[in-house]
Symmetry: C2
């Protein structure tokens, strides 16, 4: 009969009696890291059991990748053999964690000794068993503990009064010292080392403003420049945005250039789409000459930083027929039998102005390295946020490698995936490394849709790796809801985006100007879209939502509950046109309750119902709700309360709940 | 810059664009096999996606472990990128499965060609692209296909009428042949090979009868023998049982032997507990001399087989102080400082008549091999079913190894885990290999408890590896419900066990005799338990439930819906004392609806509600329910129907639902 073969590699495996399973968080068996941001707590749970009835002990181990030593924190049992431990992630980059557990012989002995003592059994032999355990620990003990353990062992061995020996045996000091020297021979270590990617806080909480730099001129009829963008910074900062995102800033191809409103034929006056990247003036490493120079761009970056604003660049891995790559690397493209390059297609649509890369090329390695170089180039200029265009049309393995490489060298980098595609593709892109992701938010407009979608995003395992970034509009997306809802629709969608998502963004100035005209009925494209022409925007236009946006963004900055996605809970409200939800910090010191009227045309009212005890509110006491948008304060009592929202005034409440902290004479104070 | 390192081992990994994830069934990332029985279908699902918009194809691969060639069945897409395939497991033992998927270039081309044709686009170049694909496939094609493909490629190249070329391009015959020669360079194979353990059908559907062979004598005052057991076989077969399970049949130790009713002191007349294994007459490989010889035992096995009955033995890995192991292998036990062997304890309880093995012994390997030898010895005698006593007090790794070894040589072996312990320990034992498991069924008596528990067992992932075996009573368990409910309690618990579980068993004759007297108030032990004394049972005792049991077991044999655990669904019924559920074959040809009155004292009535459409019943037509217990037939119409159950008559209905198949003149026929 053969030796138990699985046990050969680890000589002690056969006697390791503790098992560790169902570890969480763990994505796809540890194939992908979970995501956190600096100073977050990582809470780790596992099922830990052994045969028999002995007392177990477990530790959560963690370390920075580069370091060799594990730090350990004890785990504690919850119910049903579930254990939990947690630690704070302090540094950017990858941190590893795993679990180990063992049978705690000494505490088992103490527990049994106590039970036997209570049952009046003879303990003579038991004391000797304990003395052996202490003597065993003494052998491996540090000098400061060794002497004490030896004395304890002797004391347990000495015959004497049972009560005195028992007290000695159960001495908390002894328990503490013995806890330092478990019998490590049969310790079980979980068979996977798991990873958490620690991102900058902006990966979790960011407020994006998208604009076309070429339309930043303060006067009509002139192309905007990076210098004009500098002048725009105070406006953007006033509105409360901390990321300024530019569509591609590279030279634009002229072959098959699209005209205004995306018509196939262009005239010499047409400026082309910024996504038609590359011309004789350069490709992904060049700046469109009319925007300025690289030096101008770097200066803009520095100026923006003074306003607390990071600039995000658009990385679109595709080229115009005039891009230098087409000449220099013909093997990176797919050629058709007629000796032309295969342009982008989504039949029956043709994009003859765009060539996709052929990632199945034999020369894939050079292609991968070149594209990585594009990121490194802009990182060298000082950029740390990238909005990646259509990542779902490039291979998953490419992104996993590229993001892994970049983040190893620059762990502060943030990648936003612009993938509007099949849900599982979007989730996979997030798993493999994208820091934030566009979502279907723009098309979730009813209460039921919003509740379903955000429950999935925040309450399922998806939360561990997928960070939604919510956009009510983009240059490609002007939803029907915005087309026909007027300014109330823009306001309510803004509040939803800004409070359902810790990360959100708008495409301005069309958003704050409530621009709502589509190119054609049924189309979601803007009429006279800025994608194909240069615009002039009057920032002082009457009716602009800029002050409303500034207010909402200030509320976000001042309320930590709105700076995370996970603690989201929908509350019942008896009107299908009203949606109500709460967000709160774990310690409940900051509780926000949002009510939005989803009907942009009519006043809606209803009774909402708050789970007071879950929110830490005494159901017998009144509490204050402070509307952070309108600054009104209401005194509520009990779970059910009435709200009424006129969309033409303001379509939402963002309440902060204030608990009564004390009463003096006739005054109540709320915190 | 380094070469993408993860891609080095598989040179094509970088260009494999399809990913396969969320494969089901898959237990703990493939660490454990799922379970099926011979001739079951194994349905496998996965999420399969790629970048871009191309058409994918996927195959489920499977093979017997011993064979080298994979068989393949196509998978088909469901919704949301979920794919499914299935195959039948035909042979006992382990079968492996995995998935592969690829981008189907040809079907992508056909799809796009059709769209472009409908849009009236010029297809000249597209036909050439397709011709290249066909020519490429032709190079690797089998001779029977190569000629045809060459002709197709030429036809697509030839200029001519678009309509004719299009017809050629979309020819289903061409699609079929091309499907045989996918571009295999970048095929993705799932990175795990998963396993299914294929057990005999009895692992899924079995009916157990536990009895003490020493109490099988037909006359009072004489010890029963294996020969007496032979005479008992017709009775057991008449009751409808197909597994006869014996407590340990080995010599019993005398040191610290327990007396009647488990008192610590015994007299010379006391026969001892069969679980106190081992004396000077032998240990786990010996037969208690008063039961007969090994030859007698083998004859009993053979006779039982004639009745369709398998004999299951109890394997209890523990010894009496008199077991030969104690002398021969002192290192297999834990010694106390006073030079005595550590007996079993569960403080404050002491079991001085029982020594557990010390699995942490340095000599563990010899111990493991010896214990494996115990199974092999009884397998040599012809035994294939084992009820394993307290497996949760021996290490998980030991069982995983032992069951793996035994089942590799004897895949028809069935292991029943007798572990009443922490739920996660019970599930782990099932994962690592036990074929069936005892459950908490005995203590789940209310409607809510039963619904919760059986929903967990049958509707969660647990189903893939944990097969419940339900016991209303055992020699150790006489529940309060049975103590105080009288014969109606025994009947209703029998129906619940026999219909909620495809595997169930009773401990008889106490069960059919409705024996209900406990040793003490609050105790679940039988008064004058057979564990400590020899009994005489009068099988013709008035009031025996034997005919009722025979009826229930016949219903089980005749209705495949009751022979599996998974298709279980609880139906609403508006009385907390009545429980209603359905079981059905996947094709709905056999539908059973069970209603049980959980109150053993009073008649209960209520309205139940059946989901007619889910059961394949036309809501506009009447249907027949045939009570297989009482043989009454009722004509029902619509989902809501009235039931009334008097526990003193019969506390349950087991309805078979019969659909109206045709009407002739005045007669309706129901199937």
């Amino acid at each position: 009969m053969p030796t138990p073969s699985a046990e050969r590699s680890d000589p002690e495996a056969a006697r390791k009696r503790v098992i560790i399973e169902a570890v969480a968080p763990e994505i796809d068996g540890g194939a992908f890291p979970v995501k956190r941001t600096v100073e977050d707590r990582l809470r780790v749970e596992a099922d830990i059991v052994a045969d028999g009835h002995e007392v177990l002990a477990a530790e959560l181990l963690y370390r920075r990748a580069a370091e060799s030593d594990w730090a350990a924190v004890p785990m504690r049992p919850l119910v049903n053999d579930r254990w939990r431990g947690e630690f704070t992630v302090t540094d950017l980059g990858r941190c590893r964690y795993t679990i180990r557990a063992w049978i705690d012989r000494f505490r088992t002995w103490q527990r049994d000794l106590q039970i036997k003592a209570e049952a009046g059994q003879d303990l003579a032999v038991d004391f000797l068993v304990g003395a052996d355990l202490v003597a065993e620990a003494q052998k491996q003990a540090a000098p400061r503990d060794a002497q004490g353990l030896m004395e304890w062992a002797l004391a347990l061995q000495q015959e004497g009064e049972t009560a005195a020996r028992l007290q000695k045996a159960l001495d908390p000091e002894l328990t503490l010292v013995m806890g330092r020297y478990p019998d490590r021979r049969f310790i079980t270590t979980y068979d996977k080392i798991l990873s958490v990617v620690v991102d900058p806080v902006k990966a979790r909480f960011s407020t994006w403003y998208e604009m076309f730099p070429r339309s930043s001129s303060p006067e009509p009829g002139r192309q905007g420049t990076f210098q004009d963008c500098e002048a725009r910074l105070p406006y953007i900062a006033h509105l409360g945005f901390d990321v300024l995102y530019f569509p591609p800033i590279h030279p634009i191809g002229s072959t098959h250039r699209k005209g205004r409103n995306n018509v196939p034929q262009s005239t010499p006056e047409d400026v082309g789409s910024p996504w038609g990247i590359g011309s004789s003036e350069g490709g992904h490493l060049a700046v469109h000459p009319q925007l300025g120079t690289l030096a101008d761009f770097r200066r803009l970056l520095a100026r923006a930083r003074e306003y607390g604003i990071d600039i995000a660049l658009d990385v679109a891995f595709q080229v115009s027929p005039d891009h230098p790559y087409v000449r220099e690397h013909p093997t990176w493209f797919r050629w058709r039998p007629d000796k032309t390059v295969q342009y982008a297609e989504n039949p029956p649509k043709k994009y003859e102005d765009i060539y996709p890369f052929d990632f199945e090329t034999e020369d894939w390695e050079a292609l991968w390295q070149e594209l990585k170089g594009v990121f490194l180039f802009w990182i060298d200029q000082g950029v740390r946020l990238f909005r990646v265009d259509n990542p779902h049309t490039k291979p998953f393995r490419f992104w996993e490698w590229l993001i892994g490489e970049i983040k190893e060298a620059y762990p502060e980098t943030i990648f936003l995936a612009e993938a509007f595609t099949r849900p599982k593709v979007m989730y996979r892109l997030a798993k493999l490394g994208f820091s934030q992701s566009y979502t279907f938010f723009a098309w979730r407009n009813t209460k039921w849709e919003l509740m379903q979608y955000f429950t999935e995003l925040t309450q399922s395992g998806v939360f561990e790796y997928f960070r939604p970034n919510l956009w009510p509009n983009t240059p490609d997306i002007l939803t029907e809801y915005l087309q026909f809802g007027g300014p109330p629709a823009f306001r309510s969608r803004l509040v939803l985006a800004a409070t359902l998502g810790a990360n959100y963004g708008i495409y301005g100035p069309p958003f704050e100007h409530c621009l709502s005209e589509a190119r054609a009925p049924g189309s979601e494209e803007y009429l006279n879209s800025e994608k194909y022409e240069i615009k002039y925007w009057d920032l002082d236009k009457p009716g602009s939502l800029k002050e409303f946006i500034a207010r909402v963004n200030r509320v976000r900055r001042e309320n930590p509950a709105l700076q995370q996605d996970r603690p989201l809970r929908f509350f019942p409200i008896d009107n299908e046109q009203l949606i109500c939800y709460g967000k709160f910090t774990e310690d409940l010191t900051n509780i926000i309750v949002v009510v939005v009227n989803l009907n942009p045309h009519h006043t809606q009212s209803g009774w909402l119902e708050l789970p007071l005890e879950d929110l830490g509110l005494d159901p017998r006491q009144p509490y204050q709700v402070h509307d952070l948008l309108g600054d009104a304060r209401f005194l509520w009592h009990g779970p059910r309360n009435y709200v009424e929202l006129n969309p033409l005034v303001v379509p939402a409440h963002i309440f902060r709940i204030r608990r009564r902290v004390r009463t003096e004479r006739d005054f109540d104070y709320y915190l």
